[in-house]
Amino acid sequence: MKLHDRINRVINTAAFEESLSKSGMELFDFQCEWPKYSQFDDLPEAYRKAIEAGESELFRTGELTLV
């Protein structure tokens, strides 16, 4: 899955925003900065954590399931 799609999937989750906030960042900082990186592994740690937190929320709520 492309980074762009992965981000679109989590960007409206509460956990994603909370994680960014804990790192002292605003949503707009993330929306401006992430396109400078082409792959997930290249992203700053705070951004990776926020995306993973959003994905965990989606798994918890059943919006995503592992197959």
């Binding site: 762009h4 679109n8 960007i11 409206n12 949503l27 707009f28 929306q31 992430w34 396109p35």
Partner: protein
């Protein structure tokens, strides 16, 4: 003419106005999308865009209006034609895919192999990609008015930082919502799609666009 809401209103007034409009919005949308829709309404950015035939659009583009495309496909059982109709002549739907901010995502065009020299003389590779993600979709052609107030992506980030406290206190967090609150019609970024040399535009004022009536029904095999 849109104004800078951060300076026109106090933070409390702005927060209250947004809160009132969000409370009235009964659509199933993320909070940030509803806040964007509220600001768009305050700025009158949710008005219907101009709609013209391709000859008239070609004339506008010749007068330095910026030619743009948007590719769309059906999702979750909603036919693509419905999305296109709503974009051109329906109520403004703020959407939920906001990786670089709420707004209408569009891309600049480039020479194409398609044989539609009048209505689609050029085509965006990014729009083609989005119009063919899962099933054949549609591409719309439009022009951003030459007098639009536009801002480069990094400059907008600087404005966001400058207004960080005002935005946060008013509950505005999204990049597109802040652009709209500042009174910009659109923001632009180079090369967001790897390997495609096109600018990506996020238009927050639908009114700043003139759409072409003729829409391209797109299928990848047309090109191969």
């Amino acid at each position: 003419m849109a104004q800078d809401l951060f300076h026109l209103l106090s933070t409390n007034e702005l927060k209250k106005e947004i809160g009132t409009l969000v409370a009235k919005d009964k659509r199933t949308l993320p909070e940030n999308s509803k806040i964007f829709a509220a600001i768009a309404q305050m700025q009158k950015f949710d008005q219907l865009p101009d709609l013209v035939g391709y000859k008239e659009l070609n004339a506008l583009i010749a007068k330095n209006h910026t030619e743009l495309n948007r590719g769309m496909t059906a999702t979750k059982g909603v036919p693509v034609a419905l999305y296109v109709r709503e974009l051109l002549i329906g109520a403004m739907y703020p959407g939920t895919l906001s990786s670089i901010g709420n707004g209408i995502y569009l891309a600049t065009t480039q020479p194409t192999e398609l044989i539609l020299p009048d209505a689609f003389p050029r085509l965006s590779k990014i729009a083609e990609k989005y119009a063919s993600d899962d099933e054949p979709g549609m591409i719309v052609r439009c022009a951003l008015k030459s007098d639009s107030r536009i801002v480069e992506y990094d400059d907008l980030h600087a404005f966001c930082r400058e207004n960080r406290n005002r935005a946060a206190n008013a509950g505005i967090k999204d990049f597109g919502a802040i652009a709209a609150a500042l009174g910009f019609d659109a923001y632009v970024r180079e090369n967001i799609e790897a390997g495609i040399d096109e600018k990506v535009w996020v238009v927050v004022n639908r009114n700043a666009l003139t759409f072409q009536r003729e829409v391209l029904q797109y299928a990848r095999q047309v090109l191969s």
